[in-house]
């Protein structure tokens, strides 16, 4: 009988396929669905000179890689901690003039990904006309539309080596199911695979395809777009995993406080990135089962009910 190979692997295995200087795309959005366990593993394995792409927007994923010295080039429309404040390392390195930013709007990233997914060298949009973005980013170029002569911006297709996404569930072959927002994850996978790159997905839980309730009609990301599946419970922490646990704002505040001094930052990296032996150890250091319970389960019900 034919034997089908599953795509289950470990975090170190998946991250080992990233070489220094690669272009790495991270899924999710703002403080949500970010592949944070991957981000920590990239730092642990000592990757350098990465180009980090966060479509549409980045937060602690990008800022941690900047702060740990893993990247010198950021491609994103926004890097910040939403209502919690600006991204400290991103901000400091930009102000020092030693971090390159592919300055853009969300829509430019979408057009760059769509072009890559369809094997076009570039895509077109009117977004950005009248702004300074084409002045600041040589890969956004104002040209004349060949049909009407009206101005339009050509966006160069994104070239990337590898993408990491965090999704709530997948089967061992890589069929993944988002339980909340999909953000740009599917488009990212299409773009990176089409260009010959690899796509890895961390999941909060690995699901047997025969599990009752596992319905192929609800799969958001089919396996032909996925090279590897890694089971990492709470793998998006401290960002949220849509419908499973909330973002850990206490941890974000701790991160932001640590980033205020070099000593604080080194201590943070030691405690949460280099120190933990594995994900279970990391979660222990973040408050363990008690803290994770406070972020999941009934937490969303309490927060969504006024008066609590």
């Amino acid at each position: 009988m034919a034997h089908r190979k599953d795509r289950v692997m470990t975090l170190p295995e998946a991250v080992a396929s990233v070489t220094d200087g690669s272009t790495v795309v991270l899924g999710g959005c703002f403080n949500h669905n970010k592949p944070m366990a991957v981000v920590r593993e990239l730092v642990r394995q000592g990757r350098k000179n990465l180009t980090v792409v966060a479509p549409p927007t980045g937060s602690m994923d990008v800022d941690l890689l900047v702060g740990a010295g893993a990247t010198d080039h950021v491609v994103s429309a926004y890097v910040g901690f939403e209502h919690l404040g600006l991204a400290p390392h991103f901000r400091a390195r930009c102000q020092a003039g030693d971090l390159k930013v592919w300055e853009c709007d969300e829509l430019h990233l979408m057009v760059a990904l769509e072009a890559a997914a369809r094997c076009s060298p570039c895509g077109l949009t009117r977004a950005g006309l009248g702004t300074d973005l084409p002045r600041l980013n040589p890969e956004l170029r104002v040209i004349a539309d060949p049909f009407t002569g009206e101005p339009v911006i050509a966006v160069r297709a994104l070239r990337a080596d590898v993408a990491f996404l965090h999704v709530q569930e997948a089967d061992p072959f890589g069929n993944a199911r988002h339980l909340g927002s999909v953000f740009g994850d599917v488009l990212i996978a299409q773009a990176v695979k089409r260009q010959g790159g690899k796509v890895f997905v961390t999941v909060d839980r690995l699901v047997h395809p025969g599990t009752p309730g596992w319905d192929p009609r609800q799969v958001t990301l089919p396996h032909m777009l996925v090279d590897g599946v890694i089971e990492v419970p709470f793998g998006a922490h401290p960002t949220s995993s849509h419908s499973l646990y909330l973002s850990d704002e206490e941890h974000f505040r701790r991160y932001l406080a640590a980033a205020r001094s070099p000593e604080g930052w080194q201590a943070y990296l030691e405690e949460f990135v280099h120190g933990p032996a594995d994900q279970a150890d990391y979660l222990e250091r973040c408050g363990g089962v008690r803290r994770m319970m406070a972020l999941g389960g009934a937490a969303e019900w309490r927060r969504s009910t006024p008066g609590n």
């Binding site: 959005c29 703002f30 403080n31 949500h32 549409p56 927007t57 429309a77 926004y78 890097v79 910040g80 939403e82 209502h83 600006l86 991204a87 991103f90 901000r91 930009c94 102000q95 003039g97 390159k100 930013v101 300055e103 853009c104 709007d105 969300e106 829509l107 430019h108 979408m110 769509e114 949009t125 009117r126 977004a127 950005g128 006309l129 009248g130 702004t131 300074d132 973005l133 600041l136 009206e150 101005p151 909340g180 927002s181 999909v182 953000f183 740009g184 994850d185 599917v186 488009l187 949220s240 849509h242 419908s243 909330l246 973002s247 969303e300 927060r303 969504s304 009910t305 006024p306 008066g307």
Partner: protein, 260 residues
């Protein structure tokens, strides 16, 4: 007149701009003011309006539903309980018509250009901002947009922004026409102290002062380029009605995010 907080008034002023049936986009990150305004409009004069929450793609209408808390982030998935009726992905949002949009910024200039990139010369900015997010596309493509800033000062109101993230200028401005943009440009700028709109010469000028703010105070904190012809005699922004304030506090913002 009931007492109210500046951010409550800002949300109320913006809510009044929304017409019934429109598709609204309150933005993504720290966006509690526009989020409150679209929810307030739905629960008062615009029950058939809908709002989309940027990249997270929650498609929401609150009418007849249990009031959700106001969150600092529209990407927070507790928004599922905030009147969400459908969930779409980011490319779907980017490909959907939006009638109006809200933009916050580090700097706004007399043309209504908005800067989220940073202050100072590029690339060694004196103050690096978060980046353009989605305001370049929204200012080019949505029918109209509204600008809100949480500080009214010469730091935020400038003659020329250092870098343009959102393209301003009113629909009749030759510069906007040159770009052949589908969108009609900014309609109104609201601050904690006043509202500003386009004057006859195509630049933003003070239109109304919020209750409790005098013309003298506005002259002190507003660069002269924004004064306009009526700076000494500005009418007052209509204060919140009892209904607006009641709906805002009981159904839109029961946890008092705007009262902090």
């Amino acid at each position: 007149m009931a007492a109210f907080y500046p951010r409550e008034l800002m949300a109320i002023v913006l809510a009044r701009e929304i017409q019934d049936g429109e598709i609204c986009s309150p933005g993504g990150a720290a966006s509690e003011i526009p989020l409150a305004s679209v929810r307030l409009a739905q629960l008062t004069h615009a029950p058939n309006a809908v709002y989309l929450t940027s990249a997270s793609g929650f498609v929401c209408n609150l009418v007849g539903k249990q009031p959700p808390p106001l969150t600092g982030s529209t990407t927070d998935w507790v928004a599922v309980y905030g009147g969400t009726e459908a969930l779409i992905d980011w490319p779907f949002v980017m490909s959907t018509r939006r009638d109006l949009f809200f933009a916050g910024g580090l700097q706004v200039d007399v043309f209504g250009n908005v800067n989220l990139i940073g202050v100072g010369q590029y690339p060694r900015l004196k103050m690096r901002g978060p980046g353009t997010a989605g305001i370049a596309q929204a200012s080019a493509l949505s029918d109209r947009f509204y600008i809100y800033i949480q500080e009214h000062s010469p730091r935020t109101l400038v003659e020329r922004v250092d870098h343009i993230s959102a393209v301003g200028r009113c629909a009749s401005d030759p510069e906007r026409r040159r770009w052949a943009l589908p969108g009609g440009g900014p309609r109104l700028l609201v601050t904690p102290k006043a509202t500003l709109g386009f004057g006859d010469n195509g630049t933003l000028e003070l239109k109304t002062r919020h209750p409790g703010t005098s013309c003298d105070e506005l002259m002190e904190i507003t660069p002269q380029a924004f004064w306009g012809p009526h700076i000494r005699d500005l009418p007052e922004t209509p204060a919140p009605t009892e209904e607006e304030l009641h709906v805002l506090r009981t159904q839109v913002d029961p946890n008092g995010v705007l009262r902090r």
